[in-house]
Symmetry: D3
């Protein structure tokens, strides 16, 4: 890393201007898939979130934590069981998932952000009625889907210049908790808040037209092109919930959805504040 000239430095700052201007006061929902980024990646991400907020953008972070759930289950002698990518969740598994998501992954993210500025507030869908959940499939136990969203708590925190960090546990009217897919929740939050962008930070460079072929990375896709790729089986299983989240968010008015490689340092900054962006951008 060599020393930049003042001209280069000034140019980067000046080029960022129209983007900062454009996204100011707008909500950007970021699904953080942090398990593959490590401690340093998480710190970079936290710094980026604080930067967005600093310049007047309203970031909302949504996260999952599947691998960490499986790890604690195994330590407690339970065998994780997945069907079609969804975890069979009995009452004990739900307790474990909730402890891991709310009490560990969420805490780590909140802590990482608050080292920079004390703006992060951790939430789950249970707080202030944020996510009313219902059972997704009786056979899967306490795996939920989003029944209704009440994002007033998010709007209040955003109005107070705070950064909501959401663990994707919801509850039904009787107070029963459910574990919900984080990719899906991220899209629902983006829609409910009228977000300008939905960003999936993941561990691949973006969406490819041929899953195994890096050279087929798509820089931009329309909704219909993405739908075709899905229909044609070209989107891998792990990418399906993200791709579906992009499509549903765009259909409901979100202007742009992105799949980025979160392993790239400051991926969020590069995507939002440079003319070229990175990863895959999907537009309506």
């Amino acid at each position: 890393m060599e020393v930049l000239t003042p001209e280069d430095t000034a140019r980067v700052l000046a080029e960022a201007l129209p983007y900062i201007h454009r996204f100011r006061g707008k909500v950007v929902v970021v699904k953080y898939g942090g398990h593959s980024m490590g401690k340093e990646g998480q710190n970079d991400f936290a710094a980026d979130v604080v930067l967005l907020r600093t310049v007047g953008i309203l970031p909302v972070v949504v996260h999952g934590g599947g691998p960490q759930i499986s790890e604690l289950m195994e330590r407690l002698g339970k065998v994780p069981e997945l069907r079609d990518g969804l975890r069979v969740t009995d009452a004990e598994t739900l307790d474990i998932a909730r402890m891991v998501l709310v009490g560990k992954v969420n805490r780590d993210l909140v802590g990482a952000i608050n080292v920079h500025a004390p703006w992060a507030v951790g939430l789950s869908g249970e707080d202030a009625g944020l996510i009313t959940a219902e059972a997704a499939d009786p056979d899967l136990g306490f795996v939920g889907k989003v029944g209704a969203m009440n994002v007033s708590i998010l709007e209040r925190l955003l109005a107070e210049e705070l950064v909501p960090v959401i663990a994707t546990i919801g509850s039904d009217a009787a107070g029963q908790a459910y574990n919900i897919n984080a990719d899906t929740v991220a899209a629902a939050v983006a829609v409910a808040l009228g977000a300008v962008k939905l960003v999936y930070l993941t561990d691949v460079e973006g969406i490819r037209s041929v899953p195994d072929d890096e050279s087929t990375l798509q820089r931009t896709l329309s909704s219909s092109e993405l739908q075709e790729l899905i229909d044609g089986g070209a989107v891998g299983t792990g990418m399906i919930p993200k791709a579906s989240g992009c499509l549903s968010a765009l259909a409901a008015g979100v202007a742009q959805a992105h799949v980025l490689d979160g392993r790239l340092p400051h991926a969020l900054l590069l995507e939002l504040f440079t003319p070229d962006g990175i990863g895959t951008m999907v537009t309506p």
Copy 2:
């Protein structure tokens, strides 16, 4: 339970008037020691919290969860070790404590309240810089004490008619988390918010002048009388942090501190809204 006459019913309601009036718009901090109350006791407590908020009182709930932490430690093959009532806390124990407090006990309380009205928001001291912690004693590892409080997030939530439910994890400037005694945090929160009352809900009837003798229950104590009981060794080990919390809160301007038997149904309502109150009341 027989049917009350209209006169009796009306009298209870009318007697509650001056108390509701007196505490309206005031903060009441309740330390919930829920482990001995069971599921039903928790539901009654949650209903009471909602009632307080409904009539314009601003309840803030603080909770611990020692037994639940020990239980998960044991399931994960760790042996809990306590020195002078404080848990030796290595990094793994801290992780477990945080998962249990934030991801289980806090969630259960939030869920129980939100079945009645979607007003509860779970927090730990890590959120929005609420509690800046520092190590209490190097030999104990990540056991913290309160370094500084920034209660603006609580004030914001209270202003929005929400009910903060606080798990007593704090963090230092570097983002390192610490487990902090909940009795102590409750007193610190009461002081920082200018609470009118600090209430410890526990599993004894109140403070006794002879620990083993039920008949020595004290209905009212002054700060100096309580200090004398402590100095004379009449206050049991488990009650010491609560008694100290009462004294420090009263010294800093909280008007009344209480130790109540949380097993009595609707103990909070009886204490706040009836002429006689219950348990032990300590005043300056």
Copy 3:
């Protein structure tokens, strides 16, 4: 009156919760027919009004004062003359009515409330253009009916946490005052403020299907059932303006209208805050 158990006391308080919650921030218009209640009844009523306001309900009191007007007329050597229940009102009678309603009955009610908390503000329909009146019938002189309501003064006082107490004198554009039936004004105020309840406090237990037979007290009536009772002549003359007020308020969106026995201590509290209520409730 025996001592209640803590369980009974707690139950009364806890049962009141959903009702307090439901009526919080809502307007309840109470027509106070105080002449038959005596000094003590007025004090109980005043205490109840303060309680409603204390728990966040917005009471508005409307009152008449026919017997007191007649009394002063007689002392001044005038013979009260009523036609179909309406008082023939020449200029001098109007002056007397206004002095009695605004300068005596209203004052007594305001004073009784303000002994508890200084929240009551007495008004007549002349203040800030509250009630624009017009002549009801040329033969009756200055007996008015409601031409237009401008309730902004009431909304302002309610927003300031005050309790309006309204004497039912109105005036026309030229400043001429009129005496208006209080039962009718109460219904008009309830409609204009979007009240959730209209309550007539009177000296009978409620509406009966056979006026002279106490055993025919109706606990609940629909609008159409009440209309039938009226059409069938089963509603006594004195009850007709109240029954009509109930019907017109319900037709305009008020959710519930009540006729209660104001002689029962704390009738308002029992009606609003207990599961069974008292008197007659009319619903659309």
Copy 4:
């Protein structure tokens, strides 16, 4: 009354500018002694009050009504008894005074103002705890003096662009009402509201240095000069409460106090908006 030239008209308007500017947003308390002005005088006064409010001045009207009280007493067969200018007031006399002041004189003034614009709101000292009274002298019965003022209701009404019209009945903590001298109340209101002017509208041209000699009218007096006139016995009995009110108001920071002849049409306008003013002006 001849036609004015445009130049004359423009000059009057333009000269009023600095005065309107100076008193804008300031409180002017006017004691209205209306009994000698007649119906037309009252209408002129009402129009002037509306004009003041229209141009951004905050008028507060205080009134008495002694002759009207005596008149009703006599019609009811009671003999008015005055000692040193104060009315001996038994319970029945108080009732009469309250009816006349609140239910007649106050109503007439409110009505006269509201014909122009619906801004007047009638109050007595009993409303919202405005005047806490205490007995002035046990021998006089329910004649009160001002114990404490709580002018928040006045500040709220002024903030809402309304015009308070105050009848000088106060009440003590137990709810007992008292009749209070209106000249004294006007001064107390002016002090409590931080008024810029206190104006007594009366039926003489102003204060004279020789009571019976019209030619000794004083156009301006300092507080000490007025005190000397009082001490020298040059101020007549009826003028004493007004003179004392001027002195106490000026001593507490009111900038100017005036005694004007209310029989002169638009006396208020001429005093406030013309370079020369009218009547007697007292300054500190």
Copy 5:
């Protein structure tokens, strides 16, 4: 100028009441054609503007400055060229026009107002995007017409009790400035602000049906009558932009448009606050 009687003075003030009341809180746009009024006329005008604001009316001043532009051009050796009353404006002429309008005429007006009260803020259409201009006719150079108005800066200043004084320079999206006819801008500002009145202060008494015949001055005209006068050629060239401004403002909802003789002292006051008004009033 003889001394007025108090009766006359009071009558002028009292007659002004309904007008002040009617225009309170309303915007009045005044096109100031100051070149023929002299220094003293400008001071009178400034005092009138301050009076309007003092009594709660919201004046907005728009001005031109043709003769002053020509004068500076000539001093700089340029020959003013007008085609159909519009100035051919090359880049240097534009610079001169801008210096004169913004840097001299506007300054003089702002200064004259602020001697009375520091409320005037000078603006040109370039400030905060007030007027987006476009070329009126390529042959005329930088003579503009109004493309779009963004009056939020005016609304903000008015809300802060300030008086905008507008020089009629606009600019296009590329930052190119244009000189725009002030009569036209005044009408556009009145429409955009929802003004209640548009007033052209000029150096004739009003609009005549025969330009050269003073006796044909029209006191009131409807829009259609004015249109007929224009179509019939009865309106002189210099009056055409004002007459067109009146018509377009009225067509867009402005209630009244006026052409007054600004040489008459306090013409604005006489027009707004006296029953007869002066000059020509055009109504829809």
Copy 6:
């Protein structure tokens, strides 16, 4: 200019974070000495001002225009005369200075900024009483010094997210205008607004300890070091007002004062948002 790597780009953006955070919501006063920068330099400056505002910093621009004033004077046949660097200013010269500063230089700056975002509002010290001036020296004519500042108009505009651009003409109570040194006004504005930074953009690299020796550029100076340089005669005449401005601003609480080379593209961005800064920084 070669293509930067994503890592470099991200590093520049990420390094800017703490600076943007630190200056957010703070006022930065920039004296723009634009005559040596040319059209392009002005556009870069304008873009930088918009960027500062975009990220939440509150820039206030102050400018002079000496050369442009001299130029117009010469075109009008007047000979500029300077004494000790101050322009002898007769009435005509003042008119010219005002036209040039307010009507040309200010307009050009406002226009340049508003091409990016319509946030700039041009002001002179005459607007809304911003600068009350008094004569600096009778021999110099209308050359003023700052008598009093009333920055409420600036605070209002800043609160509305606008960017004040100030031409340094002030006026006295009688409305007489004065031309004031812009370096001095910039410091006074910084003090009155409690600015965090005062920046002089000029045409040298900074302050040197030996005026003619580029190699003696000082990167940081304390107030006392700068005072020593001035006392030692090491600061050139043109730099004296800026150096004095730095000292007076720092003495009154402004945290940092800067002298930068405005010819360097994006000098403001580099100074504020990079770890090294540029030019000379003076601290208390």
